[in-house]
Symmetry: C2
Subunit: 359 residues, 2 copies
Amino acid sequence: MRAYNFSAGPAVLPEPVLRQAAAEMLDWHGSGMSVMEMSHRGKEFMGIHAKAEADLRTLLAIPPSHKLLFLQGGAIAENAIIPMNLLGARKGADYVNTGEWSKKSIKEAKKYCTVNVAASAEDANFTYVPPQSRWKLDAGAAFVHCCTNETIGGVEYHWTPDTGDVPLVADMSSHILSRVVDVSKYGVIYGGAQKNIGPAGLTIVIVREDLLDRALPICPSAFHWKEQVEADSMLNTPPTYAIYIAGLVFEWLLAQGGVPAIEKRNVAKAKLLYDALDASAFYVSPVRKEDRSRMNVPFKLRDESLDGAFLKGAEERGMVQLKGHRAVGGMRASIYNAMPVEGVQALVDYLKDFEKQRG
Amino acid sequence: MRAYNFSAGPAVLPEPVLRQAAAEMLDWHGSGMSVMEMSHRGKEFMGIHAKAEADLRTLLAIPPSHKLLFLQGGAIAENAIIPMNLLGARKGADYVNTGEWSKKSIKEAKKYCTVNVAASAEDANFTYVPPQSRWKLDAGAAFVHCCTNETIGGVEYHWTPDTGDVPLVADMSSHILSRVVDVSKYGVIYGGAQKNIGPAGLTIVIVREDLLDRALPICPSAFHWKEQVEADSMLNTPPTYAIYIAGLVFEWLLAQGGVPAIEKRNVAKAKLLYDALDASAFYVSPVRKEDRSRMNVPFKLRDESLDGAFLKGAEERGMVQLKGHRAVGGMRASIYNAMPVEGVQALVDYLKDFEKQRG
């Protein structure tokens, strides 16, 4: 039986995708091979790769000004790769600090440049997104970096920053494809695939073409965006099976009506869960209402001594991976695109039942 | 129907591994999740990860002095990561140039240090391994790098270099697990998984513990061996599904009798193919006999105008991906661990039949 899986990543995938992957495992479309076994330069995989790229371009409405790369290493690797690709002759970059993932980006960037923390929500334990009116940007910065959805803290930008001529760089790992985004407003969008796209080990990078000439000489070829653009993401062997699964997820998303349709569903799912949390004094949702993430919903039991019983009861009902990140404790329900509304409803029912029993 | 897949990588996997992966795709061991959907920090995946590590340590008889990492990026990324981790205060490293993969390593290392090419087989178009008596090593080098099996040229070290106190670093991507190796003789062994281990996107690094203190400050955390050792390869989200498949391959290998047993089979498979090539004037095997790779067998038709007909006829018999690498042309049969002897026999039969028809 399939569980309702609230993991923050790697995370739930659409069941039809998994069924198709299982059916095609030994022989993809009569090729006699699993996708895992295909040369990345053979006609079969080249077709899978091109289709996945085209479908993602369609889903995100990526304009021709922006290149799309399928790489490796996840957001943590990319945190180093970004300054290595974007600094050029500049010595500093602006970072907005909204939580654990921002902090990781800042720590890594300091290896390569001066980091100006343009704004920080640390004063309120990272429970909000600092409004742009409070950002102190440096006009000479190589770029402005923000994490537009903090997977651990559960805060999300519901607006697009305006950084003028300085390129805006966004880690969208945990909400990419969950909402309509105007890609043209960003210099770089990046993210690990293992939250809203597919298996861990695939990294998406979307980069405006005019930014491809700024790489430092120390940038490894495998992570050198311009070299990878010229090699069609195949300078090194790409994570072929992860790209195939991501491609199936893209097809599934298109069949759901694309990003505008899934966004509507995500708004409804998030409202269902936050309303239940807000309706009770037994649970606490720490994030400021305007900045709550639709994807990652951290919450606490007011009486933390009940955490163990809560998690055990959830597992008995087939709801798994609800334990919060060790950095913040409590609970976290990640409700990505592939989480059906039935899963959120089951959690809401359980929230009420548990409170009745133990409240 | 399954093809005989001679791809150089990504490459053929054991059929029982693919069958098990298909069967477990929607629900791994009653967890209600695909392995792809599991948090890398959950008890289910932690168990899969630990078992894969332990089995690989057993298969390669990795001594306690050496740490094992499951990372991302493949050998091309690692070519940059190695000098970033090993240079310390030294300014140069020795490289032995045996072909296309050595050249890629050298090109990348030059971003970080002075490269001394200690020996090169370029004088004979990379058809042999320069004997160590001809290596001109620098006693002050940070390390000595060699590629112990050149996937494209098809040359293989059948002996272990002795570099004294200077750490020996080997790219074993395309023959790791195909033969018994004394790991204790190496400072670092690395390789992409997509040839003899599992899906693309997983990189194996085996590093002697005393070498972990030499990283440059510019080394990205995701590729910083010491930080990854301390984080048990989980500083960033590992490529979880690729690790799971690799783990199934390790279990399959152990069931075959481990590396000594598979090596015997590989010796027999290679002999079968090389004997057939040597018995005919219609085909040419360019590599010096003592240095021929057991894994990658490049060969040419003396009349290259027949290449297209040869490949077409092979596909009609269910033998795919025999086309040689674009850098050298001709044909290449990669006969990794998972290629059954029946596949090699089918190729040998075809070599004879094609010669009869067209010779």
